[in-house]
Symmetry: C2
Subunit: 417 residues, 2 copies
C-alpha cells in the first residue's frame, strides 16, 4: 500500500481489521464428532435439539410426602391436616400405587410423584404420628416442590445453537438428555513460520551471533489460548523461494499462516512479495499505526489470512491480541456471545507520566502493585525486542491514537494477560 507519492501508507488498527473482515469470506472449519466428556470449550457445528423430555416424570425437589394439595388447604400447626400414609416411593422406581383423597406417600428428593399427587409437603412441615398417619402443618399449592415432566427441557426443544461454545453446565445438560456424542468444529490450524538467518531452534547450539527462536513459542501459546491449533513449520532462511515454498505448503492444511521475524527492510518487502505472488487478493495492509507492531503485514491468500509479524517479542503479543485473535475467532466457527471480546481488566493509577506520539496507538506493558488498597500501574521500560518486558508485565494499557500520553495519578484500564 503506497500513497500517491510512493510512500508506504500506514493505516489505523480499526481500518486494518476492517480490511481483513471485509475481504474474509465466511468459512467454517471441518466438523468432527466427539464424546461430550472431551468437549469442554469446543464449538458446536450443528444445532442440538432434545429428543426427550427432561425430566421424563414429575419429581420431588425436597424430602417429604407426596400429597394432593387440596387436602392440605388451611392446614396450620394448631389445626393440621391428617393424611394416611399409603406407602414409600423408592428412588429410581415408579410408584405402584395412587394417592387418593386424604392420602400421602413418603418420598425423597428426586422421587417420582405418584398418580393423584400434585405437590410435596416438606418433611419439616410434617409430624409423623405413626407408620400410617401424618399431621401436615402447612398447606402446599398445586405443583409446589415438584419439577414437572419436561419442565427443564421439552422434547424437540432447540437446546444449543450451532456456533455455541460448550461450558461445563452445557455438557451436563447434554448428558441429562442422553446426548453423549456431538459434532463440533475442529480447531483452526495456524501455521507458524519462523524466518531469520540468525535464528536457531530453542534446543539447538547457539553460535556467536545467533539467537534462539522465542517467537514461535510465544505464538504457539497465544494460539492455544485463542482456541486454535498451532503448527510449527520450523525456521527458514530469508530467501524468497524458501519462504514462498513453505507458505504454499502451510496453506494446504492450515486456516491461517503467521510469518514471524523478517524484520529487516529487505525481508519485510520479501514477505509482502510472497503474499502478493501466491494468490488473491494478496496484501491488504503493510504498516499499522500501532506501537509496538508498526511494520505488521496483513493479507489474504486465496481467502486464507496470512500475517507477517515483526520479530520483536512485544510486537508479537500486541499484534496477536489486536489482529490475530479476532480473526482466529471468526475462523473457529464460534458464533460469539455477548462477552466473547471482553478481557479481564483492572483499573489502576499510573505511577508516572508516559509520553506518546499522536497518530499511533501505544500499547504499554505495565506491572501492577497494590498500595494502601489502591492499584497502581508502572510502565515496564525497555525495548520491545526484550522478552522480559512481557514476562515482568501483568498487563497492557493503551494510549489511543489522538492522546499525547498519560499523567502520573491518571486512572487507566489495564488489560490483564
Amino acid at each position: 500500500m503506497r500513497d500517491m507519492l510512493g510512500r508506504e501508507e500506514i493505516i489505523t488498527v480499526g481500518r486494518a481489521l476492517e480490511l481483513i473482515f471485509k475481504n474474509l469470506p465466511p468459512a467454517f472449519p471441518p466438523e468432527t464428532s466427539l464424546r461430550i466428556e472431551d468437549s469442554y470449550k469446543r464449538i458446536l457445528s450443528r444445532d442440538i435439539f432434545s429428543t426427550e423430555d427432561l425430566p421424563q416424570f414429575a419429581r420431588s425437589t425436597v424430602d417429604g410426602f407426596a400429597v394432593n394439595s387440596y387436602d392440605t388447604f388451611g392446614a396450620t400447626e394448631g389445626l393440621p391436616a391428617y393424611l394416611r400414609v399409603v406407602g414409600e416411593i423408592l428412588m429410581g422406581a415408579m410408584p405402584a400405587f395412587e394417592i387418593n383423597k386424604s392420602c400421602a406417600a413418603k418420598l425423597a428428593t428426586g422421587g417420582v410423584l405418584p398418580e393423584g399427587a400434585d405437590a410435596v409437603v416438606m418433611v419439616e412441615h410434617v409430624q409423623q404420628i405413626d407408620e400410617k398417619m401424618i399431621e401436615v402443618m402447612k398447606p402446599v399449592a398445586p405443583g409446589e416442590n415438584v419439577i414437572q415432566a419436561g419442565e427443564d427441557i421439552k422434547k424437540d426443544e432447540l437446546i444449543f445453537k450451532k456456533g455455541h461454545r460448550l461450558r461445563p453446565q452445557d455438557i451436563g445438560a447434554l448428558a441429562g438428555l442422553g446426548i453423549t456424542n456431538i459434532f463440533i468444529y475442529e480447531r483452526p490450524r495456524v501455521s507458524i513460520i519462523s524466518t531469520g538467518d540468525e535464528i536457531v531452534p530453542a534446543d539447538g547450539q547457539v553460535r556467536p551471533g545467533q539467537i534462539r527462536d522465542i517467537n514461535s513459542f510465544n505464538l504457539a501459546g497465544l494460539i492455544l489460548e485463542a482456541g486454535g491449533e498451532p503448527v510449527k513449520r520450523g525456521i527458514f532462511n530469508d530467501e524468497y523461494n524458501v519462504i514462498k515454498n513453505i507458505v504454499e505448503e502451510s496453506l494446504k492444511d492450515s486456516s491461517m499462516v503467521l510469518i514471524t521475524g523478517g524484520s529487516s527492510v529487505g525481508t519485510k518487502d520479501m514477505t509482502a512479495r510472497v503474499i502478493n505472488d501466491i494468490g488473491r487478493p494478496g496484501i491488504l495492509f503493510h504498516g499499522v499505526s500501532i506501537k509496538p507492531g508498526k511494520p505488521m503485514i496483513g493479507g489474504l491468500i486465496n481467502n486464507k489470512p496470512v500475517f507477517g509479524l515483526p520479530g520483536h517479542p512485544a510486537a508479537i503479543t500486541v499484534c496477536f491480541e489486536q489482529f490475530i485473535a479476532p480473526v482466529l475467532k471468526k475462523l473457529s466457527g464460534f458464533a460469539g456471545d455477548k462477552f466473547a471480546d471482553r478481557k479481564l481488566t483492572v483499573m489502576a493509577k499510573m505511577t508516572r507520566n508516559i509520553a506518546s506520539s499522536s497518530g499511533r496507538e501505544d500499547h504499554i506493558r505495565v506491572s501492577l502493585e497494590e498500595r494502601d488498597g489502591e492499584m497502581w500501574a508502572s510502565p515496564i521500560f525497555g525495548k520491545s525486542g526484550l522478552i522480559t518486558t512481557l514476562t515482568k508485565a501483568d498487563g497492557i494499557i493503551v494510549i489511543p491514537l489522538r492522546k499525547l500520553g498519560v499523567e502520573q495519578g491518571e486512572v487507566v484500564e489495564v488489560r490483564l494477560f
Copy 2:
C-alpha cells in the same frame, strides 16, 4: 455440627472456607518434567535461573549502520557526518572487522554490533552516497538502538519462581534461554463420586423413575476449568458400605474427593458419617448459609478435602465456585498472582425486583441483554434442580447475607461464566 439444642448449625460461606483452610496442611502435588511446548498454563515446581545471558552479544534493534556514536554528534541534515562504510554484517554471524573512527558497517535488525561500535543509526536517517560512504543526518547517543549483551536476561538471574503459572510469553523466554525441559506440578486429581439409586449413566437406558447423571459432567468441566484432573469414579447406590469403600479407594490416588447426589436427609447423614468414620479430622461443616447449596458438607479425611455436594445442578456450580475452586487452587501448587481470584464481571441493571432472605447469601443466575447501550440483567426463574437455569444464564449475581433483595434498576455486578 450441632448447636446446644441439637440443631444443625448453619455457618457462613466465609466461615466454611476459613475452617477448611485452617485445617488444610500445606501440600504440593507430585512434580513431573515436560517439554516447554506442552507447558502452557502449567505450574512450575522449581525456581528457574538463567544459565546464560540473553542476548549473548550486543544486537541492533533497527535496520541501519553500526557506528561509534561520537562520530555522529552534532550531525544534521544540513551538516551531516560523513562515515566510511567498511562492510556489511551478515545475520547470524560475528563481524570479522572493527569499527574505527569515522567508519560504519551496514546491519539489519538483530545483527551483531562489531567491536568499536556503540550505537546504530537508523537507515531512515542516513543518505547513502555510494557503496563506501554515507551521510548521517541525525546524531545517536551511546547505546541507542542497541540491546546490550545480557540486557534482557542475565546469567544466574532468577527468571520464574516455583508456583508460577506459565503464560505464552514465559514459554518464549524459556525457549530464548535454551531451557526446553522444565519441572511442573502434576494437576491435582479430583475424584467424582455420583450417588443416588435413581441415577443412571448418561449413555445408559433410562427406565421410568430414573434420571441420567448430569452432575458428574458439569463437575468434570468445572474441574478442568480450575486446573484439576477430573476422575469419574462412577455411580453408586446410597449404601453406607458402598460409599465408604469408593471414598477410601478414591483417596488413594486423588487430592480431593467430591460426592454428589445423596440429597435426601438419610443420604446426607450417611455421607457425613462416611467422612467422619474414615479419617481425621472428618466433617468441618454441615450446612452453609448459601442458596443454592445450603446442605453442603465439607471435611478433611487424613488431610485431603472431601465435599458432599447437594444434587441440584445449580447448587453444584455455585458450591464449586465458592468452595472447591479456591481449595483446588491451593492444592495445585499455584503461588497465585495478584489477580488469580478475579473473575470476568460486568455491571448491569436489574430488570426487576428480587427478594432475598436475610441470613443467607443468594446466588441468582441471570441472563444479560444490551438495550440502548445499557446492560440489563434478568433473573432466570426456576428451581435449582433445573439444569436449564444454568444453561440459559450468562452469569451469577450475589445478594449478600444481610441484604433483603435487589430492586428493579439497581446496578449489580454479574460474575460471568
